[in-house]
Subunit: 895 residues, 2 copies
């Protein structure tokens, strides 16, 4: 490293708030306050670059020592004291300060500069020996555990012994002599367990403390936190060295935290806490009760007025709600920290519009300040936070919200009980498409198997239904209609339980909860104008104005379609027809599959036609005037048949009992014939349409006859027929010809020439690679990013969740599941390629995405970047997608 | 179509042999003979462009009529006769002639120009009324069925009636009167069944015949043939119109076919057949016995000498063995066709080197004239063609060759019987990795289920073992040790059967067969110098000189490795370690899988280490000095465990019988735990290495300890450690660090620092897309094109064979399975991208392919084009790969 080029230390007076990369968040904001002329204790910042150099070599970079000396000298000059000097020592705080806040994750060392001599000087200068010895005691404890790595338990034990000896309850009650005894035992503990004495040299204390803050970047808990919060590993932390100021020097001293306005609502006013004769850590420890900030006015009017003036300055400067930490040392106010205040999702929306209304920011800026992630949290009901009940078990929070109801163990019961007005929670080992009817009517779904991408989880998220899955402490006994807990106790059918889809917790009984105000607003069921709902609505309206991406919803039923419309979707981007083949229609599908000749097959298709047509008529009615993209039948046929293993056991047992059932045996043989080693890679999608003559033509006929019927009724249906799992252009061409023939015939039969489009899913890597050829036959592409992710990565959603994906996330081999957020480098590359090649061959190609990524905020920004026309997601995600699509435009333009 | 720009008709004198696209093969070669001054009947060619215009509009293109008239007039002038003229008619033959020969697939109409009047003239001019009426009768029959679409059966029936009436056996014996009667009944048949009279207008006959030849391009059988032979659909056919010449005008007339030299060996000499007083169709019909061509010398010395002179001219001109068709009409020789002669694979090799030895062509040209497809056929034994025995059943010819042996139904019996010197054929419903020991010792493998890409087929091809699979007429009863046929008869254990891996036929008893001379030569077991083996060896040696691609083999055992070396492989490109985990070691793998803690797992790994080390030592010995690429464990763990369905049935039955076996139950629970919906998309490859601590490190240790041991013995092992199924660069980095740690430790323990490389399979689309990042950690890439094809297309080899792939091939939705020949547009695009991106980030990256495509001739040319460093294929394919790698260089340069 060329020393002459780098500076590793900056004075607070040299930086500003935009230098968070180099100075860390805390340091940059301290520098900003100095720039504003606010009272900040003198000090300096060791930069993140010094930290990353230190990581690279294991030592301070060349020149850092000298730079620290120079800045320390400046600090000493400003304070008129010398670090650790015997008679009137300067003490400093050494605090971490990374670019992104990582609360509680990294180290702080206070009172650096105290030693056996300067403690005496401090006692004299402060005229408070107890204060001085207590400060020294705290330094030894903090330095010993943090810097020298001594187990904190030893210090706690010694303190406990001293309290016992002295027969007092709190350390504040210890006498100076006791504190001195404690200092002696702490020093002995350090000698014994760190293998060295506590360093009496103040500068050595400082250097070791700085290193220790650097090192704390790499603790396990810090790494884990960064993975969870998606903070890059290579940023490193800055270190702030500030002159100590003391709020614990008796009357006229104190410390506090404050907000520039109400952090929950954005209302103007005085919000904060104050603690007399205390240090910041005492506020955090919560041992003593704090006063409301307003009480400071009576205690120290000058400081109070000055603080309010400073907060006004800060808010006008940052144009946002800020929080601050301050200390008053014997009547003198010091600002120790400020930042744009953290806020709840609810507050974020309210604050953003409030600042607009006060003329401080415009709607663009307001939109930048809220996020889809926050809106998602506002879309679900939540349990009352003060309901302190213990969970009986915890699974994975798979679909957020709070649900209360009677436990039921099968769909039929769920439907029956729900029809008579009961709230139910459907409990299963795992769910499959057959459970859909039960899931629709249940308040929540609880499974003992499967992860966040299991059937239960995916479907529940799609429906906005609360779901806890993979609660493997539960032994679910579907036949016995109960589940058991590890302690042997049971929950039986009909017993009320509560599940928290965010935390994954499961409770006995009914926990009080509140509905989502935002959802009530969309549904038109909110009875009064709420401040939150208004804020959300205004910001969504603005997002709608600025966004380029259109937002559609994935909806398979007229009910979902209607809801999607209420939630602002501008069409259906994915209507899956397989759900229309379940329930009582399943028998018809079985007939279709086991048909022995053309006649039997045609009969089955004819029976399905009117049912499908009615489905589509109702959906077109709900989506009058908006496009409805209908995917032809996609899943492997055997999904409509019984499970091979279960059926094999059943047949073997029947045979053993001398009761060979011919029907069962024939069914088994059909199931065996259709069994595939890897159904995800087998006979599905367009392959079905090609292998089973008439299947797709029947579906096309149902769609176009329904469209004709609704046109006749004066509606404007806009069907888009989508062919799934296309790998070659010829597959699409074959189906397209069939659809065109059906369209001709429907036109002649009904006299209505209904406009329709035909297009394809792009969900195989080959389809993306050969998109240019495929676009010749497709009017639109819809990227199925779930399947595309499966094929590109070579892992199936169902299987990886159960095996290696959690391990990969834990180990940091992946920072996020590619099923949750689009893998831009791999899958995204194929999407980008597919869009480019498709449009090159057909410039007016409409391109969208209908995988779950369509509702993921991060992914939406990528879809905006590569110029998709629309995203389609579950109805509940549609507002989130609208918001993020708007934000994506603004953020792409730059702040 | 702009008439002034296009010519649709060419005179023979205007074309040459290189215009096959426009003039078709037959026409271009006729034109070439005219250019050489050889006696070709006058005539002209209607081009393929006229044909494709006709297909586009359904009618002759504008101007074609006039062009035909002009060329017909020239032809008439040359012959001094007029088409169909009453007294001395010109007759013409109308023959198809596509670019690629499609023997017997398309139509020919002879004697066009005869009608009720001209037949009289012909009788007079030829002085042979029987000849004239027989010619007319033949025209009516051919025109009626071919051009007018009358069922040929009617004509046959009428002819049969006439023969019966006249009490004669052959149509040659019919009198003129009988032939006249037959002409009358044929005309009646046409009138009744075609709905029109036979056209008496000669020009109308000609035009209809030309249309009919065009139309014959689109018959089902022609389409099917083109699909099989991979001839493009859009070429269309040319039509040749030649003046008729007659070999059936009595003594001094005749017809024949001949080769310019021995088509089987390339020896010079007179080879061909001659038939006196006959037309070409009589030779084909095989009713009369032909004379050897040499006999013509005695019959008509002038024509004989002229023919030999012409054949010499043709061979010197074409510089290749040609075949010809000729007719002698009353002492005048006419050449009707020539082309470069078709030849057997054996003859192709012999002819190529013979032409080199005669100084006619160079070795480059010789290499261009043989193909890997031909060499493949020479690598397998074959049944004697004259062994006329009926097959008892037919399956799919999955791995070519001929095998004879006693039927056995399990691997243990196969091994036991083979050890006592018996030839065995292993018969199974389908095979799995457990059958490997039986497959190794069996002469052939026969299964009743599974297609050409089933386990049995793939493994058999890899071992060069004959295999017939999917013989679904067989009911295989493994427990009963027999299989049944549809007629109820049975073949029991020990009965001798023969299977033909090319035709898929299965025979009772031992059919005589011969070994492959080429293989014997490679193996050094041929006892005399064969002409074929020498030719193959010389051409391979030349291919080795010119090729750029290196050729390696896929080999898992020391025996395979040694064979690969004998077959010219320059290293092992894929050594699969999973096969080393089977047989008696399976128990250790089970222990590893069900290990309940680290200690149990480490014990299992420790037990496997010495076994793996020994495997590698022996392989390194066999491949001394050559690179050996070893793939770490790849398949899903549950492949080493029992089948879920079978085990579930077993446990259920045991429970039913009151005999619950605790061990079985625990095994079932483990199998259930590891069960995956889509194992191909699950926990396998590098994911295993990351999830099971120590597994890959154990394998790396076995490899590096084996390398150290062999280095100590003075050998030069060159291990390359290959990580399978990598999706992200971090996965590779984790394993690489483990391997490096093991390498350090082995170096310290043994004192030998053995050179090794570490690299990765590129078999997931994501790996190809992010190859730039991955190359940062990989010294080599090996494209696993089997998996890459599965993921890119989204279908699994196992499943698609059983379901839609055959249908797709039949329907022309695919022209070839992408597992047989690389899909250049899709999968090839990823390979190309992976190579480019990988080399951009690491210019010295070594890149190869180790999927089955490595041995596919067509795919090898693609791999040459995109600059791979090597291909790796099964040992038996290595010579094919060497040959095609050489040809690829020559063909890329241009002929």
């Amino acid at each position: 490293m060329n020393r002459s080029k780098s500076r590793f230390v900056f004075d607070f007076a040299e930086g500003n708030k935009d230098q968070k990369d180099l100075l860390g968040g805390k340091g940059a904001n301290l520098a900003e306050m100095v720039r504003l002329g606010l009272p900040v204790p003198p000090g300096f910042i060791v930069t993140t670059e010094a930290c990353t150099e230190y990581f690279a070599t294991g030592d301070f970079p060349a020149g850092l020592d000298e730079e620290i000396s120079a800045h320390l000298a400046a600090c000493e000059a400003a304070m008129g004291k010398t670090l650790g000097e015997a008679n009137d020592p300067l003490l400093v705080a050494v605090r971490s300060g990374a670019k992104f806040s990582m609360p509680g994750m990294m180290e702080t060392v206070l009172n650096v500069g105290l030693n056996d001599e300067s403690v005496q000087g401090l006692a004299t200068v402060a005229a408070d020996p107890r204060f001085a010895w207590d400060s020294y005691r705290r330094l030894l404890q903090m330095f010993g555990s943090t810097v020298l790595g001594v187990d904190a338990e030893y210090f706690s034990a010694a303190l406990g012994e001293q309290l016992l000896d002295q027969r007092v309850d709190k350390d504040q009650e210890l006498s100076v002599a006791s504190l001195q005894a404690l200092v002696a035992s702490y020093k002995a503990i350090i000698r014994n367990h760190a293998g060295r004495d506590f360093p009496q040299d103040p500068r050595e204390q400082l250097d070791l403390a700085i290193r220790s803050v650097f090192d704390s970047w790499n603790t396990d808990r810090a790494r884990l936190y960064r993975r969870q919060e998606k903070i890059p590993e290579d940023l490193g932390t800055a270190v702030n060295v500030l002159a100590m100021v003391f709020g614990n020097l008796g009357d006229g001293s104190g410390t506090g935290v404050a907000f520039t306005r109400d952090p929950a609502t954005g209302n103007q006013g005085v919000y904060g806490d104050y603690l007399e004769d205390a240090q910041g850590e005492d506020v955090v420890a919560g041992i003593r009760n704090t006063l409301p900030l307003a009480a400071l006015e009576a205690i120290d009017k000058d400081s109070y007025d000055q603080l309010l003036q400073i907060m006004d300055t800060l808010e006008k400067h940052y144009l946002d709600m800020c929080d601050v930490e301050f200390t008053i040392e014997r009547g003198k106010l010091w600002m120790l920290q400020t930042r744009v205040g953290k806020r709840t999702p609810e507050a974020a929306f309210k604050l953003a519009v409030r600042f607009v209304d006060e003329g401080l920011i415009d709607m663009d800026e307001a939109l930048r300040r809220v996020s889809g992630e926050q809106l998602t949290k506002l879309m679900f009901p939540g349990f009352e936070v003060n309901a302190a009940v213990d969970a009986i078990a915890t699974g994975m929070g798979a679909s957020p919200g709070a649900a209360v109801g009677k436990a039921v163990f099968d769909s039929a019961t769920a439907v029956a009980w729900a029809q008579r007005g009961e709230d139910v929670i459907l409990v299963r080992q795992e769910t499959n498409p057959d459970d859909l009817h039960g899931m629709v009517v249940a308040n929540g779904i609880l499974t003992s198997r499967g992860g966040k991408t299991s059937h239960a989880a995916v479907v529940a998220r799609g429906m906005g239904r609360t779901c806890v899955c993979g609660a493997d402490d539960l032994q679910v006994d579907v036949n016995g209609k109960c589940f058991s807990l590890p302690d042997g106790s049971k929950v039986r059918e009909g017993e009320v339980i509560s599940i928290d889809g965010t935390s994954g917790e499961i409770f006995r009984g009914a926990i009080p909860f509140h509905d989502s105000i935002v959802v009530q607003h969309f549904e038109g069921s909110d009875h009064e104008e709420s401040q939150l709902a208004t804020a959300v609505a205004r910001l969504l309206a603005h997002a709608d104005r600025v966004r380029r991406l259109s937002v559609r919803a994935n909806a398979d039923t007229p009910e979902d379609a209607a809801r999607a419309r209420r939630f602002g979707a501008e069409g259906i981007g994915l209507c899956r027809t397989e759900h229309m083949f379940l329930g009582e229609r399943r028998q018809l599908v079985e007939d279709l599959i086991v048909a022995e000749d053309d006649r039997e097959r045609d009969l089955a298709l004819e029976a399905l036609l009117p049912l499908q047509r009615e489905d589509f008529e109702r959906i077109f009615a709900a989506m009058d005037g908006l496009p409805v993209t209908i995917r032809l039948l996609d899943p492997p046929l055997h999904e409509f048949l019984p499970n091979l293993t279960e059926l094999s056991v059943e047949v073997a047992l029947a045979r053993e009992q001398g009761a060979p059932d011919e029907r069962l045996r024939r069914l088994l043989s059909e199931v065996q014939r259709l069994h595939e080693q890897n159904p995800m890679l087998g006979l599905r999608g367009v392959r079905l349409g090609i292998i089973i003559p008439g299947l797709f033509a029947m579906q096309a006929r149902a769609i176009l006859e329904a469209a004709a019927a609704q046109t006749a009724r004066g509606l404007e249906p806009r069907p888009e027929i989508m062919v799934p799992l296309v790998a070659t252009t010829d597959e699409l061409a074959v189906i397209k010809r069939q659809v065109e023939a059906v369209a001709d015939s429907v036109r002649q039969e009904t006299g209505y020439a209904c406009d329709y489009k035909i297009g394809t899913m792009i969900e195989l890597p080959r389809a993306a690679l050969t998109a240019g050829q495929i676009a010749a036959h497709a009017e639109f592409f819809s990227f199925g990013t779930n399947d595309l992710t499966q094929m590109t990565w070579g892992f199936s959603r169902d299987d990886v969740e159960a095996t290696f994906l959690p391990h990969y996330l834990d180990e940091g081999l992946l920072s996020v599941s590619p099923f949750d957020s689009l893998d831009v480098d791999g899958v995204g590359e194929l999407v980008r390629m597919g869009v480019e090649r498709g449009r090159l061959s057909r410039p007016d190609l409409r391109v969208g995405v209908c995988g779950e990524h369509g509702g993921d905020p991060v992914s939406i920004h990528f879809f905006e970047e590569i110029g998709l026309d629309y995203v389609s997601c579950s109805p509940f995600r549609a507002p989130v997608a609208r918001l993020e699509a708007g934000r994506a435009v603004l953020l792409a333009k730059g702040a």
